[in-house]
């Protein structure tokens, strides 16, 4: 069989424009929210001097972690030489860029002084993990763009392997850097753990593949392209293993914290007594975000069903957002232990669990990050050859066999 062609989608259907209109509206709402936050200040958010990172960070960090993981399929194709996945790789690369744009947009617009972004690009403190990440993020765009070129332009075909390898290494370093933003924080008991960096890498695998599956299923369904049951089944099974890997690291993180006597308080809070955070962990992250998708992707009768895999992927995304809520906000809700062995109280809310209720503007800003990622993806699949004409088992297997 001949080489499997990649093709743009027509992008003229009512469904395409409805989706495009919806995400554009969400982006507009997010921009209005950001403008309000800029003019009136963070006073209109639920954030305060106790919960300093709120809902926007939940979405932004999720998107940045997912950006790295979206490259899973590309890495499998180009680094591990699985030619079967090669036609599925360009969408993987494009999604990575789209998700990172979404995440960084939210992160930037949530700054107290977003207009000073240029300062962040011209003044660097190289001891700061944040500053490293600025290089990791911009470098990620460059490396993935180069990789996409090797996938899409005949002139670049010969460089696919090294470009794929560079991208693979970069994405691992990037997610390690994102995890280290939290892992190096000695002040907060829920953080200050070296395990956070590999945990974020594991999370990126499952979040990214989940987002990829949502995009692939949506594009194939919307453009009437075949998506083989076996293809779906393989990716779904892989998602299952990534969920297990993520759960393993999360378990190790909590168990090691429980082992350290001074950190049992925060673990007790997050796992047992934390109210919304405990619910977000057990119901959101573990139940809906891990256990239920595992059933869906590992049940032999379900994992080849588009609806079941789509549901599993969406649940992983929901669970990921729940996880970020626990990791980012739960950790701040638990009070700092300034004087171990003492009960403490003050006008600055020392010693109390800090309440947090996200306001509409900050939620809109966060959601607009997802919308930006979707918007960039919709533009990409309409104007670039990112998706194969057919993702049927036969087409992919024949393409792999043909050496194309």
């Amino acid at each position: 069989m001949a080489k499997l062609a990649l093709r743009e989608i027509e992008g003229r259907s009512r469904g395409y424009w409805t989706l495009f209109g919806a995400v554009t509206a969400l982006i507009a709402a997010g921009l209005v929210a950001a403008w309000q936050m800029e003019t009136e200040g963070h006073i209109i958010t639920g954030m305060n001097n106790q919960i300093v990172w709120g809902a926007p960070h939940v979405f932004a960090v999720f998107l940045i972690v997912a950006a790295s993981g979206a490259l899973n399929v590309a890495s499998i194709a180009s680094v591990f030489g699985e030619r079967y996945y090669k036609p599925l790789a360009p969408l993987s690369g494009w999604l990575a860029i789209a998700l990172l744009i979404g995440g960084l947009a939210v992160l930037s617009l949530d700054l107290g002084r977003p207009e000073r972004l240029i300062v962040a690009m011209t003044h660097y403190n190289f001891k700061s993990v944040f500053a490293w990440n600025m290089f990791l993020y911009t470098g990620f765009f460059a490396v993935v763009a180069l990789y996409l070129w090797t996938l899409l332009d005949r002139a670049g075909f010969g460089y696919v392997k090294p470009a794929g390898l560079a991208t693979f290494v970069w994405r691992l370093v990037l997610t390690t850097g994102t995890g280290s933003i939290f892992g190096f924080l000695i002040a907060r008991e829920a953080y200050a753990s070296a395990v956070l960096a590999p945990t974020f890498v594991a999370l990126s695998f499952s979040y990214g593949l989940a987002v990829y599956l949502v995009a692939l299923i949506t594009v194939c369904a919307g453009s009437g392209r075949a998506l083989g049951e076996a293809v779906l089944g393989r990716l779904a099974r892989l998602l299952g293993w990534f969920i297990v890997a993520a759960l393993y690291f999360v378990m190790v993180l909590h168990l090691t914290n429980l082992y350290v006597a001074k950190q049992t308080g925060v673990e007790r809070f997050l796992l047992l007594e934390g109210g919304v955070y405990t619910s977000a962990f057990w119901i959101g992250q573990v139940g809906l975000g891990s256990a239920l998708p595992l059933v869906l992707v590992w049940h032999p009768g379900l994992r080849t069903s588009r609806a079941a895999v789509l549901a599993a992927a969406l649940l992983v995304i929901l669970g990921g957002l729940a996880q970020m809520y626990v990791t980012i906000i739960g950790a701040q809700a638990y009070p700092l232990d300034l004087f171990p062995g003492f009960d403490i109280r003050s006008s600055f809310y020392d010693g109390v669990i800090n309440p947090y209720a996200p306001s509409l503007p900050e939620v809109l800003l966060g959601v607009s990050g997802l919308a930006i990622a979707a918007w960039v993806t919709l533009i990409g699949v309409k104007f670039l050859r990112l998706v194969p004409e057919s993702a049927s088992e036969e087409a992919l297997a024949a393409q792999a066999g043909s050496g194309a």
Binding site: G112, R116, N125, R188, F339
Partner: protein, 194 residues
């Protein structure tokens, strides 16, 4: 700065009030209001022994806020005072996440009635400056002065590196402790009587 907690009285907020007046800060009404210094009431869980003391930026020799600041807006002066450059702070609040003392505040809203000596800015982070504008002209920080005026003299400010200074002498004569000494940040604020 030395804090003699045996002289600090529960209920007295002279230092907090002085700081607010000196730096043009609003009353601490909401969780979004800045508090550069606060009174902390402690009770030892095992013994019930109570302490009252002021808590502010500890001006660490190895400040985590300076380490994590991506732009270098958080910085330590040559004399050890930790400050925020309002012109390069982008308001990412990473320093607030990193500070073990919860010493920093974020300016959440538009400001009015600022003091000329203490410029502040919506969207940037701020904290105790040890009244750098006063000490640079040879005066004491407002909190230290107010504590003395109130008759407690629980706060002593000076140069720890000058062996002849009062603070160096008192630190030499009586044991002091650092808050969260386990973190080894080598704080410039020392406490006695804890």
């Amino acid at each position: 700065m030395l804090v003699d907690t045996t002289r600090c009285t529960n209920g007295c907020t002279a230092c907090v009030d002085a700081c607010r007046g000196e730096n043009g800060l609003p009353a601490a009404t909401w969780p979004t209001d800045p508090q550069w210094i606060r009174k902390v009431e402690l009770r030892e869980k095992k013994t019930g022994r109570a302490h009252s003391l002021p808590m502010m930026c500890q001006h660490c020799a190895h400040p985590p806020c300076v380490d994590v600041c991506p732009t270098g807006a958080s910085f330590k002066r040559a004399d050890g005072i930790v400050l925020v450059d309002r012109h390069t702070c982008i308001g990412c609040r990473y320093c607030m996440m990193a500070c073990p003392y919860k010493a920093r505040s974020f300016v959440h809203e538009n400001l009015t009635g600022q003091k000329p000596d203490v410029p502040r800015g919506k969207g940037s982070v701020e904290a105790c400056t040890l009244c750098v504008h006063r000490i640079d002209r040879g005066a004491q920080p407002a909190c230290v002065e107010a504590c003395g005026t109130a008759g407690f003299a629980a706060l002593v400010f000076g140069d720890l590196n000058d062996p002849s200074s009062e603070i160096a002498r008192r630190v030499r004569e009586r044991a002091t402790s650092q808050v969260r000494a386990d973190l080894r940040l080598d704080t410039a604020v020392r406490y006695q009587g804890l």
